[in-house]
């Protein structure tokens, strides 16, 4: 296991480097002048030259890339001060350290993800298992039907509808707002409730369908039928054999969803006017803020790689065959 971990971590570092290099050079493949984009109203050639120098864009691209990579490991000095490692540079637009900007946005993204995850796992997996347990009954039909309808919804459609009813029409709730949990847990909870519920509704539907189908599939496996034939109770077989067997695909999907949510739930953040990592990534890309885009990309990639490794570890715990191989 240790060897496996070391191998995967080294691979992750290499992939991170490649993603960084790819993003960096891809930006420069587009023929545009970042200094001109930052120069506001006085776009004289003299002013553009001043900005180019201020941003370090007057240096060769390879030097800029080298400085960027060195900064991640050793930190860098800028006009606005020393940027400690892991230094992802300074935003062209705001002049803030990229790492600080990311850390500032991350708590909201983490809160959105964790809250939503708890809701959609509880309800999604629960409803899916119930539907599989009650296969063919009215309960199954309602659960399956509802999940098909709800999974065809999108956050950008459902979000404004929920806001329209709960906030704009009835005034029962305030607009979503992020308050740090450490500041006021109640305000944190209330402020994110609508985004959680909307996000979870979509995901719940998807997880319901997935849990139901994988459970049904598992229940038809030969080892499950053998267990039943040996006289084990339906409940015991359901949870001890079928549930465990269905976890592999579910954990895989959870890992993928979790990593993309942690990298930034763009649609959720824009729908509810929240400032998380997704918004940061999109806005930095739109404004051609190279350091911020690089930072957001690398941060997202970090979670995707880490969660992939965790999913692989989880496989080993769930399925003894993985451990043995």
């Amino acid at each position: 296991m240790l060897q496996f971990l070391i191998r995967r971590l080294i691979g992750a570092v290499v992939i991170m480097f490649l993603i960084g290099a790819f993003t960096f050079f891809l930006f420069y493949a587009v023929p545009q002048d970042f200094a001109a984009l930052s120069c506001g109203k006085n776009c004289s050639p003299e002013n553009i030259a001043v900005i180019r120098e201020n941003l370090g864009l007057d240096q060769p691209i390879t030097t800029q890339f080298w400085n960027f990579m060195v900064g991640i490991v050793a930190g860098r000095d800028f006009a606005v001060g020393h940027c400690p490692a892991p230094c992802l540079g300074v935003s062209f637009k705001t002049g803030d350290f990229v790492w600080e900007s990311i850390m500032d946005r991350f708590p909201l993204t983490l809160s959105l993800t964790i809250g939503g995850l708890i809701i959609f796992l509880l309800f999604g997996l629960g409803t899916g298992m119930l539907a599989a347990w009650k296969r063919g009954t009215v309960v199954d039909k309602i659960a399956s039907g509802a999940s098909i309808v709800l999974s065809s919804f999108q956050i950008y459609l459902l979000g404004p509808i929920v806001l329209g009813i709960l906030v704009y029409q009835t005034g029962w709730m305030e607009n979503p707002k992020y308050v740090p949990f450490t500041e006021d847990p109640a305000a944190w909870f209330i402020g994110l409730l609508i985004p959680w519920v909307v996000m979870a509704t979509i995901f719940t539907a998807q997880y319901t369908r997935m849990a139901r189908s994988t459970m049904i599939e598992q229940l038809q496996e030969e080892h499950v039928r053998t267990a039943r034939a040996k006289g084990m109770s339906r409940k015991y077989v359901f949870f001890r054999y079928a549930w465990r067997g269905s976890l592999i695909p579910i954990v895989t999907i959870i890992g993928m969803d979790l990593s993309s949510l942690l990298a930034g739930g763009v649609v959720t953040e824009f729908t509810f006017d929240l400032a998380g990592l997704g918004r940061l990534a999109v806005e930095s890309s739109v404004t051609k803020d190279l350091p911020l885009t690089m930072g957001a990309m690398l941060f997202g990639a970090f979670f995707i790689l880490i969660l992939n490794i965790l999913v692989d570890i989880a496989y080993a715990f769930i399925d003894p065959r993985v451990r043995l191989s």
């Binding site: 545009q32 002048d33 001109a36 984009l37 120069c39 506001g40 109203k41 006085n42 776009c43 004289s44 050639p45 003299e46 002013n47 553009i48 001043v50 900005i51 120098e53 201020n54 006009a79 606005v80 001060g81 935003s91 705001t94 002049g95 803030d96 900007s101 500032d104 946005r105 806001l163 329209g164 906030v167 704009y168 029409q169 005034g171 305030e174 607009n175 824009f270 006017d273 929240l274 400032a275 918004r279 940061l280 806005e283 739109v286 404004t287 051609k288």
Partner: protein, 598 residues
């Protein structure tokens, strides 16, 4: 001022002398019906007059109280993107300009009367300045009792520092008028490191004979100096507080509010500055305890929240965003909501700029001007609340605006005059199918308008090749002298209520350069001569020269077809008091707002 780069990018000192308040009837919005409350532009000419310069009496605080104003509470501010800058030296657009009015103070400021007329008054200075030597020398005396947020007294050294730091390289986004007037176009060479390595401008340029006196020396008369110094970009940066690049994140306040917390791209919190003395300020109030900015709420959400007027939205205002064009009808047709709007002109004139290096025949330019369906172009930008038909290139917010001026009949034939256009093209010998390259910004407005332009010009026989340009780089692309395009839509508005800040940057042939806003590359000796003459005259005397230049530009050269004047409509919550349209900013007058129920 400068071109409109996006809806959020507005000018700061868009002072409008023309009394746009009276023109638009915004402060007394009855909310009875969905009709545009704007009065006729016919009123504009007689109400237009050059800005006045106030004396010491006019500059002495405190500001007149606002009827019914109560102290206390916090106003919520909606913005769709972050404040562009907080360092005065970097401030040139309106979001930061509004911010500056709460936090910063300059030597001078604009004061607006109840009719929307503007007077330049002393802000940190005792009056709007004393000129001598035929307008080449300007002297300002500082008021007593002006302190920064830490209690440091502001002296003439701080004013000198403010001007000199604009020469440093880290200041690149603010206005350049005063530096250029003092040290020429290459002003940075006069003080390459700003004041940070112990060097200063010579006394023959900028003089501080004592702690209370500042003297500017120019090589030619600069009658507009008091107005230029009222720009947010020239607000005072105390020498002791200057942290150079870091100042943009944590500026020291001289105004009624100071920065308590700032999170880039997310939020900004302003609280009362207890070192601000109302007796020294004839313009600002300090009614509310503070302002909470959220800079992630897009225009659509802002409008929805304010229409609904629930919870915290009751205490909210739009900052420099306007009502979402798609929801304008919901706003203006509901009397209760319409009552909570301000409406007025913006200082921008949208014009179809011709690249004179490519379209050299005036008859062709005239033909295109006649063919453009201005009304349809307005519809693509929010309809009658987004714009109004333009006959000339001076906005209604400029002194001397003539609402009847319409040499191309754009007001009479808002959908274009195709017959006249075809006649002119025939005279010019233009064949059917002649190619024209039209560059447009890939904003929703730009995309909608390019369809209209293509259709209109196809009707008169042109084969229009529409070239889409990223909105972030649009003005940079068309600002290149060797750009490959024949025509493009541009917007421009004044920096202060003087034609000098429109005619000089946009139509002066001596300003032609890469990145210059002279997008048409017009270089007419007569226009250039008139500009030179007008710049040396006092505003009242200069008006006739500017008007002469305007007529020459529009009628004799036609470098840009007038299309429409930009308009403004903003919403605020039901608990906001004192909200009215400001002719100075073209947004909600931020100096007078309060909460009805704090």
């Amino acid at each position: 001022m400068k071109p409109i780069r996006s809806r959020s990018v507005r000018a700061i000192a868009i002072a409008a002398v023309a009394g746009s308040l009276a023109l638009t009837g915004c402060s007394s919005n009855s909310g009875k019906e969905g009709k545009d409350q704007s009065k006729s532009k016919d009123d504009a000419a007689q109400q237009s007059k050059p800005v006045e310069y106030g004396d010491a009496k006019a500059s002495t605080g405190p500001a007149a109280p606002v009827a019914g104003a109560k102290p206390g509470g916090t106003i919520n501010v909606y913005m769709q993107s972050d404040m562009s800058h907080m360092d005065p030296g970097q401030i040139y657009v309106s979001d930061a300009g509004q911010f500056s009015n709460l936090v910063h103070r300059g030597l001078t400021n604009f004061q607006e009367d109840e009719n929307g007329n503007l007077t330049v008054v002393g802000d940190v200075a005792t009056d709007s300045g004393q000129s001598s030597d035929g307008g080449k020398t300007w002297t300002f005396k500082l008021k007593d009792g002006i302190k920064d947020e830490d209690g440091n007294v502001i002296t003439s050294k701080d004013v000198r520092h403010t001007i000199e730091r604009q020469y440093a390289k880290f200041i690149f986004d603010g206005p350049t008028y005063v530096q250029t007037w003092l040290s020429g176009a290459d002003y940075r060479k006069a003080l390459p490191d700003g004041p940070y390595k112990g060097k200063h401008l010579p006394d023959s340029v900028l003089e501080t004979p004592d702690d209370k006196t500042v003297v500017f020396h120019f090589d030619q008369p600069r009658p507009d100096l008091p107005q230029a110094l009222a720009m947010a970009g020239y607000s005072i940066v105390p020498e002791k507080q200057d942290t150079k690049e870091k100042y943009d994140k944590a500026p020291a306040a001289l105004g009624p509010y100071k920065v308590a917390d700032y999170k880039a791209g997310k939020s900004l919190k302003l609280v009362k500055n207890d070192q601000w003395d109302p007796k020294t300020d004839v313009v600002r109030h300090q009614y509310v305890d503070g302002y909470d900015f959220t800079t992630t709420i897009d225009q659509t959400s802002q409008t929805k929240r304010l229409i609904a007027d629930q919870g915290e939205a009751k205490n909210a205002i739009q900052w420099t965003d306007s009502v979402d064009p798609a929801q304008i009808q919901d706003v203006v047709t509901d009397p209760a909501v319409n009552k909570r709007t301000i409406k007025g002109y913006q200082p921008y004139v949208w014009q179809m700029s011709f690249n004179l290096d490519k379209i050299k025949d005036k008859k062709i330019r005239d033909a295109i001007t006649y063919a453009i369906p201005s009304q349809a172009m307005i519809q693509a930008d929010g309809g009658k609340y987004g714009g109004e038909l333009a006959g000339g290139l001076f906005a209604p917010t400029l002194p001397g605006f003539d609402p009847k001026y319409d040499p191309y009949g754009k007001l009479k034939k808002p959908n274009g005059d195709i017959a006249k256009a075809k006649e002119l093209l025939q005279e010019a010998g233009v064949k059917d199918g002649t190619k024209l390259t039209y560059a447009y910004s890939n904003s929703p407005r730009g995309q909608a308008q390019q369809v209209i332009i293509k259709d209109a010009l196809a009707k008169i026989g042109f084969d229009v090749q529409a070239k889409e340009i990223d909105r972030a780089t649009f003005y940079e692309q068309i600002g290149k002298l060797d750009n490959p395009y024949d025509l493009y839509m541009t917007g421009w508005g004044q920096d202060w209520p003087s034609q000098s800040t429109v005619v000089t940057p946009v139509y002066d042939g001596e300003q032609i350069a890469d990145g210059s806003p002279n997008y048409s590359h017009i270089n007419d000796p007569q226009v250039n001569k008139l500009i030179k003459e007008a710049l040396k005259l006092e505003p009242a005397e200069a008006a006739a020269k500017w008007e002469e230049a305007h007529h020459r530009i529009v009628e004799e050269i036609n470098p840009a077809a007038p299309v429409y004047y930009s308009k403004q409509i903003q919403l605020f919550g039901s608990n906001i008091g004192g909200a009215k349209y400001s002719t100075e900013s073209s947004y909600i007058d931020i100096d007078d707002v309060f909460l009805k129920q704090p």
